[in-house]
Chain length 481, copies 2
Amino acid sequence: MSDNKIPASVGNKENILIIGAGLCGSLLALRLGQRGYQVKLVEKRPDLRKVAQDAGRSINLAFSDRGMKAMRMVGLQKEVKKLCLPMLGRMIHDTKGNKFMSLYSGREDKYINSISRPGLNMILLDAAEELPNVTMFFNQSCQSVDLENTTAIFKDYNTKKEITHSAAIIFGTDGAGSVMRNNMFINKSLRLSFSIDWLSHSYKELTIPATENGEFKTDNNALHIWPRGENMLIALPNIDGSFTVTLFLAHETGADNFENLNTPKKVSEYFEREFPDAVALMPNLTEEFFENPTGHLGTVKCYPWNAYGNTLIMGDAAHAIVPFYGQGMIASFEDVVVLDKYIEKHEGDLQNEQTSWKTIFSEYQKERKKDTDAIADLAIDNFYEMKEHTANPIFQEKRKLEIAFEDNFPEKYNSKYSLVTFNADIPYSEAMKKGRAQDKAILNLLDYGKLTEAMSLEEKLTLVLKETKEILHDDDVAKNL
Amino acid sequence: MSDNKIPASVGNKENILIIGAGLCGSLLALRLGQRGYQVKLVEKRPDLRKVAQDAGRSINLAFSDRGMKAMRMVGLQKEVKKLCLPMLGRMIHDTKGNKFMSLYSGREDKYINSISRPGLNMILLDAAEELPNVTMFFNQSCQSVDLENTTAIFKDYNTKKEITHSAAIIFGTDGAGSVMRNNMFINKSLRLSFSIDWLSHSYKELTIPATENGEFKTDNNALHIWPRGENMLIALPNIDGSFTVTLFLAHETGADNFENLNTPKKVSEYFEREFPDAVALMPNLTEEFFENPTGHLGTVKCYPWNAYGNTLIMGDAAHAIVPFYGQGMIASFEDVVVLDKYIEKHEGDLQNEQTSWKTIFSEYQKERKKDTDAIADLAIDNFYEMKEHTANPIFQEKRKLEIAFEDNFPEKYNSKYSLVTFNADIPYSEAMKKGRAQDKAILNLLDYGKLTEAMSLEEKLTLVLKETKEILHDDDVAKNL
């Protein structure tokens, strides 16, 4: 049954349907709206500007250069900047409560930010809503998508009725559990390659509240980490003076895990033993632990992202990643930046509708897939780096050297972290390739004792760059046989 | 609705249900039967010993050392040997019809075989059926498995009725499209990581028939390859004098693909241009091309393989791979060999049923997962090696060197191919790691011009082994940070 059938073409530019008004879908609606398309944005949840929600979901996120590049594209950099809380480095806490700062970069102007997820989403929705050619529908949950005929059926939570939206082009920005992606998967003729990899660890969100005066209880200019090898606790500041704390805990392996930390007493003892300085700041620890949901962490990859030349999945629907590089939301924003580049390139030809969108989508996914694969893998690498390596002397020696390189030779050296985080024009895949080769070079040189105290910093850098170049060359020879 | 409910425990040893009587399930039933378990083996297809089938599926397969090791475990090595047609190397055909042999090893006793798939399956079914404690059911298609309660519902193709089989332990050997694996996947509390990767190429089976006297029309002691960079044709001999020919052709990319080779004329022209010497041997080429189904090629990985300590998926159900290393069936056989090792280790404790099977399954999957991942990746590597590299001068130089090493220093050198194919006691993961490092070492040494004509073969080997060791060491340092 369908009512509210909306015609496929309105005005000069195509009618576009976007399924999902999260961060990616809102930005996409705004950008396509700015380009003059007739955009319908449909979201299954209530309008978050009117109804508080997001219980148990991350209320803050890391935000950095690639994200800001996307905001500049739509002219929102100033508004978004106001929501940002700078974090200059990792504040590492040991089990005795000692802490030290590990900077993200040797350059002062290079830092990341903590940002409110709903706050950012609201800015995007507000800006999109101001455009006369963007229409929004909330409380409409997508049930299925007819990819070939570009119509989608939704269920309205309020009226309980089914609604069919149709359009010339449909974008699926409906998140990691994407209905649109599932419609691609079950259509065997599309041969959608697909993977979901569950992480060994799940997470629980907790809180360090603000003081009575609304002030931060601990340093607010850092991302706090309590690395414990197997598990870890982190905390990011919020604009109201609180911190959102996240425990990443093994699901069932190791000595401490979600299966055996099953009483307030056990949870309390575990935190007192492992994170005593954090416990002191968390008055509602055990209540929150048992009241808040346990979140699972998975990596979703798939390909191809477009079907029939007129539908495309983007953001988490196409590539959901674990949160450890602080790039999940940003990668989704970058999707829109890359897509926009190809729309710009081909827009002149859009008279011949189908062909041109197919071209745009094909070029987009061809460029983009390797980069979202790279950030997915880097995010998993960073999980191990954060929970284990940050507390490891060799890693600390490597980081110290890299910070010195970046501080003294800013034009000559960028660490893997910097390449990913502070170099918005370097694709993730290149950042990964070069960054991994540098890491391998430094670790091998340290292992062979080739970086001696007698050497100057510049000599060390020269040796690291030479070794990196050789590693990259050797890998290329083997690959390009 | 259920009838024919069979009690969960019969006799001293557990009642075991095996879903799927293909190569893996038949071997598993035989081995568990030999160990004295009460085994029910249920297959959805008719008994292949009574009803000819397998239309469009590979009727021959490569068979080598790891497979024979599994046959020795169950005492069937002599029967299976009779089905084997030795293939000593790759017979490479160029577009002019010239050919040359590239040996699989520098050692005379190291070769692979072509074997009849249904013939091998029949031997296993016959041997299992001889055991009084193994019962077989055909034409019963598994509909769903209750993993926690170890019961499974089947539909009988003849009676159209539902049948429930229950057992203490259930094994799913129901192939790449496993119903049992899907029951694990949809149970979200099991957090089954899963991936399916479709290859860019699909395949079509064709035939070189025997001569009127039942003789081979071309060399029968080789695996024939017509490598054409993008696509390739291969042929394996059958015991009746024919060859099964397989075209691996891009699905939609490149100049020639399944989408555009859509008329007998186009197919004919393509074959005449690319494979003229093969065309001369294939009188029914275009008829077969359009009558036989197009097969898709995918890699399936998942984990964990056991649920609730009493169910386990094995063979293609747990890890389906592409056929290019000739190890798909063999990896499934090896699953049974590895599982048998852990049953042997823990069988004394099987009084305490549940605990022990859980231990067996946990240890089995922990050892086995990395090896089936490795052979999956190696099989994809070999696709590129076969279709592109076998015709590449640098690759041929590498192979020539490796054959010389193996011929002259059999104790000191095994190529990657030999490690995988002729060293049944080296796990796939180790074969991959060492084999890839060797390949990289030789290619880099060739690239840097370090293997000079002035050097003796032994000096070259020493240099290759040294370079390999360094590559392995450097990789380990980077990984073990």
